[in-house]
Symmetry: C2
Subunit: 165 residues, 2 copies
DNA sequence: GATGCTTCGTTATGTTATAACATGGACGAG
DNA sequence: CTCGTCCATGTTATAACATAACGAAGCATC
């Protein structure tokens, strides 16, 4: 009874996603962390999702492989992936998206510092931006208050181009 | 058995807060909405709080006056105050702050569209900004994507001037 | 005083997140 | 080798946040 039954069913995700998982695994290895099976599966689910899944959506899907997965299972994986800069949490949705911030990014957690998200209220699509002007304006405004920025959450809700028909 | 027992104990909040409540009541009246007793009390509690209270903190405090207050009691009041632009929800904290956006603001819900919040992770203080440069940068970035902004959530975590000592 | 509207009370439940402690496996030091 | 340590995970329970659904009370208007 092998968990990996045959060559072709080893990879539960489409090739494009498997490729990104491979990249992610490599990136973790480089940093001395491990993209374990559970973490890899969760990342895969987030990459494969048509729209940003919540923790309990992921939990349900994860049970395909881990019948007894419980909330801590998923939250631990999400924490890890967030720390590694592989995913972002969208606060307004309590949902998670893959990080699209520079594909070759190798600085882990710092990825999350400066991103902006456009959330379409109709189709649910989330687009990640990395706009320097916004970052600069925000830095200036904070500095004017003597405030030292450690982490930003910039989430914009509205209508995406496609849904403005 | 009068709920209002004596002249001096009628006002449960400090004078400065009572004054703001009075203003708020007036503003609601002007708009054809009513700052009822419960709503007024919740707003007062938020104004009086040393740091942003969560819904259940407020609920507990509200029970001083309404022994049987339940979650819907507080959430309804919070929804109303948010719609009226009298408070803001800080998503990162699931907590609420008074709106400090132009004291004479009279355009209700629109208040919330464009504000930025600096959250000190040490003292918990939240400062509301209204920085045009940020708004402009964000508008441009959104426009470049064909995205129509309806609502923004900009929350920055870090250290306030006082806590950087 | 009937009608319609907003507000509020009440019960129940849904949703998101964490605490606390036990288990198991990898790996180096002795 | 086997002990201890570290990391990841399993497991149970509960905390924290939020809403659904329905009915009754207040009040403005006709």
């Amino acid at each position: 009874m092998d968990k990996h039954q045959s060559g072709t069913t080893d990879a539960p995700f489409p090739a494009a996603i498997e490729a990104r998982l491979e990249q992610a695994e490599q990136a973790c290895f480089t940093r001395g962390t491990r993209l374990t099976e559970t973490r890899r599966q969760v990342l895969g689910l987030i990459l494969a999702a048509p729209k940003p899944p919540g923790a309990y959506d992921l939990l349900e899907q994860l049970r395909v492989w881990h019948r007894n997965a419980a909330p801590p299972t998923i939250y631990r994986a999400l924490d890890f992936l967030t720390e590694q800069g592989l995913i972002h949490k969208i606060e307004r949705l309590s949902a998670f998206v893959p990080c699209t911030h520079r594909l070759n990014c190798d600085h882990g957690a710092e990825c999350g510092h400066r991103a902006q998200f456009l959330i379409c209220r109709v189709c649910g699509h989330v687009r990640e931006l990395e706009d320097l002007d916004i970052e600069i304006a925000l830095s200036r405004a904070a500095q004017a208050q003597g405030f030292r920025i450690e982490l930003t959450t910039i989430e914009v809700e509205g209508l995406c181009a496609a849904c403005r028909s």
